[in-house]
């Protein structure tokens, strides 16, 4: 690979606390050779490829901590190739994949398969998760140590909670010794049984069983009190309610160490968007009230929430064109994660560097991976943005194999122009 120099960029990298006009030089090995306002065009070798990006914004490639790839078992919903295309078009260069495939990723041979398959088919950094319990049944824990050694980044039962308190305490106790990341879906399964949307006026009107905010809060409270006994790397996958934030705040100020994520959907939509049974907005965690959405934004501002995820869940038509209660949960979102997050900047909800931080260096730190940064010698995973470009989301134009976007026809401002992976231009619009 030839050396490259990207010139005239606004470089925004929260990992180095920089927001300045400058240049980026990428060496032949695909690493950042030099970056910033002090990097001169003359620093690059004569033979380097020059790309002038006048006025555009460069950020580290986005790290998405929660996405579902249909392989194996659900190739008709999404495969590595389509997921890659969608991710790169959205400036995402690192993806944490969920283990609820078929079969479930809960043993070493499955890990080998998924890593091999990902290496062959996906042109994006993949970080597979394994399940916390075998077959996601919430009974027996998986082989954390062996799985970690084979390349598993973290453990999650995806949208199932470890309901059994004794098991959860053992999971944490065991995990603390192995330094593995436990990612919990916080929703009491007894309380949320058969429910599909937020408990409140909308649920009452639509005649649907609601999920109370207490279902989320009670698991967070339980886990955090277990965590003070068994301090392990603990991450709450995504929270949805205002009340959960007050628990998080209290525990953080007491010095309990853990991290929290939120889905971009919960930051951009609320329960009223469900309208008359729009199943594409049936999500887990559920969309809640506007005041919950606003407080989640506050939570990011106050560093109570560390990560914004796409919660990318591709579903085919058949799984969605059903009565609401029977329809599958989830929406695609990896391609629109960054543009939709930029909406929060354009409408003055959040400062730009905070949004980028939650999409890059913060998840990288939680995962302990050397991504989400444009520091010297880091892999040159770069996303080039036109911050102002207006566009309208159309499901047919999205790259995912499934078209279940929750934000069809949404007018967005800000689009990914180019994505570099290890210094190579892998997407350009």
């Amino acid at each position: 690979m030839k050396e490259k120099i990207l010139t005239n960029l606004r470089i925004l990298d929260p990992s180095q606390k920089i927001d300045e006009i400058g240049n980026i030089i990428i060496n032949e090995k695909g690493k950042i050779k030099s970056i910033g306002k002090k990097t001169k065009i003359s620093d690059a070798s004569k033979f380097s490829e020059k790309i002038d990006l006048k006025g555009k914004v460069a950020i580290p490639g986005v790290v998405d901590m929660k996405a579902f790839v249909g392989e194996p078992g659900f190739e008709y919903k999404e495969n590595f190739r389509t997921l890659t295309q969608a991710a790169l078009a959205g400036g995402v260069t690192s993806i944490v994949t969920m283990p609820n495939t078929k079969p479930i990723i809960d043993n070493v041979s499955m890990v080998d398969f998924i890593i091999r398959r990902g290496r062959d088919k996906a042109k994006v950094n993949l970080f597979p998760c394994a399940s916390i319990t075998r077959n996601i049944e919430g009974k027996q824990m998986t082989e954390f140590g062996l799985l970690k050694a084979r390349g598993i980044i973290g453990f999650s039962d995806v949208n199932k909670t470890i309901q059994n308190t004794e098991l959860m305490s053992r999971v944490m106790n065991y995990a603390s010794d192995l330094d593995v990341l436990i990612m919990q879906h916080a929703e009491d399964q007894e309380m949320s049984k058969n429910s599909c949307i937020n408990e409140g006026e909308v649920a009452t009107r639509l005649g649907l069983k609601g999920i109370s905010y207490i279902a989320e809060k009670i698991i967070i409270e339980r886990d955090l009190s277990l965590l003070s006994e068994y301090p392990c790397r603990y991450h709450i996958n995504q929270i949805s309610s205002k009340k959960s934030l007050s628990v998080i705040k209290k525990n953080k100020s007491n010095g309990v160490k853990f991290t929290t994520g939120v889905s971009i959907n919960n930051l951009s939509l609320n329960q009223n968007d469900i309208g008359e049974f729009r199943t594409f907005l049936k999500l887990s965690s559920p969309l809640r009230e506007e005041q919950d959405r606003l407080s989640l934004i506050e939570g990011i501002k106050n560093d109570l929430i560390d990560v914004i995820v796409s919660d990318h869940v591709p579903e085919d038509e058949e799984s969605k064109r059903l009565p609401f209660a029977q329809a599958a949960s989830g929406s695609i979102g990896i391609e629109t994660l960054l543009p939709l997050a930029l909406e929060l900047y354009h409408n003055n909800s959040l400062p730009l560097d905070k949004i980028i931080k939650c999409l890059t260096i913060n998840p990288a730190k939680i995962l302990k991976i050397n991504k989400g940064t444009l520091k010297k010698d880091a892999d040159a995973d770069i996303c080039i943005l036109d911050l102002e470009k207006p566009w309208i989301v159309k499901a047919v134009d999205l790259k995912s194999k499934s078209k279940n976007t929750a934000i069809e026809n949404r007018k967005l401002q800000g689009k990914v122009l180019m994505t570099f992976l290890n210094g190579e231009l892998v997407y350009s619009n």
Binding site: E201, T204, R205, L208, F277, F324, A325
Partner: protein, 314 residues
């Protein structure tokens, strides 16, 4: 016949009857005034009309029903339609067919109207997007049962002359009741004040936003009420998680002659049926023709459904 002709110039009505929520006050009044004319017809010796001759009505029942299904069937037949009733609950669905597959199959038979009942809220809405004919919701999940509310309204108007200004109490399992929801919307729309009375575990969140005052005490909730609507308490609700026992429920929420005294002197009782005698309502009270409108509700149900079929069948 002469009276009916006056109303035969059908005013504009939406294509489907999915819920009271989607209905305007004009449309509700149109259905009610049409229905009034059918009351007399239904009481006469010759009950058959040919308003819907040549039309095909399909009753698609995914959930078992006795009175609603027979009421719709009779209504269609009295208007001269070809009525077919399908109980899907135990056939196609078990073979893995989805509601939309069923809808497409039926649609190919060119029905003029489909009457649907389904255990999932919103199923008729989904169906209505896929078929070419009108869809009437005969009850979906916990969401709406519009024709029940309309027949309740007609029954009240028939006895009390009007709905405006009345105070109506709905008592029982509000949480799982589509009848309660449809009635809250309709009675509010027609100018009544609505109280709902139920144990806390059977009271939906934010019910007051639908237009009802919530009570957990029969004495307070029934105070000054003209109409007392009792709801059926399903047996499975009594197995521990919502309520401790039938006995306790009847003690606090069952309608007895003593509790009825909290309401107005001339208060009348309604029930969508089927009743659990001795659980939500005292058995003598249920049969007392001076206060109970239960039989009238069933009778006028046919008239209301005839009106709906006539207006929506195009």
């Amino acid at each position: 016949m002469a009276i009916i002709k006056n109303f035969s110039a059908v005013k504009k009505i939406p294509k489907h009857l999915l819920g009271i929520q989607n209905l305007s006050i004009k449309e509700a009044n149109l259905i009610l005034s049409e229905a009034k004319n059918f009351i007399r017809l239904n009481r006469s010796t010759s009950k058959k009309l040919d308003l819907l001759r040549g039309k095909t009505q399909i009753n698609l029942f995914f959930e078992p029903s006795t009175r609603t299904q027979s009421s719709f069937e009779l209504a269609g037949k009295r208007l001269g339609a070809d009525v077919m009733t399908m109980n899907v609950g135990n056939s196609s669905l078990k073979k893995g067919e989805t509601i939309l597959d069923t809808a497409m199959t039926l649609n190919a038979m060119h029905p003029d109207i489909i009457v649907v009942r389904h255990q999932d809220s919103g199923a008729p809405n989904l169906l209505s997007q896929k078929v070419n004919c009108s869809v009437i919701n005969a009850g979906d999940g916990l969401r709406e049962h519009p024709t029940q509310a309309l027949l309740d309204a007609l029954t009240i108007i028939n006895r009390k002359g009007k709905i405006e200004g009345l105070k109506i109490a709905i008592c029982g399992d509000i949480l799982h009741s589509r009848v309660a929801r449809s009635n809250i919307y309709l009675m509010n729309m027609l100018g009544a004040e609505v109280n709902v009375i139920s144990p806390k575990t059977l009271m939906p969140v934010s019910i007051e936003k639908l237009g009802a005052k919530a009570f957990t005490d029969m004495k307070k909730g029934l105070d000054g009420c003209d109409i007392v609507m009792m709801l059926r308490l399903q047996n499975e609700r009594m197995q521990g998680s919502f309520l401790p026992s039938k006995r306790e429920y009847y003690e606090f929420f069952g309608l007895s002659p003593e509790k009825l005294k909290y309401a107005k002197k001339d208060a009348l009782i309604m029930h969508p049926g089927p009743m659990n005698r001795g659980v939500e309502i005292d058995t003598k009270l249920a049969d007392d023709i001076n206060v109970s409108l239960v039989k009238e509700q069933v009778e006028l149900g046919v008239a209301v459904r005839m009106a709906c079929l006539k207006l929506y069948c195009k």
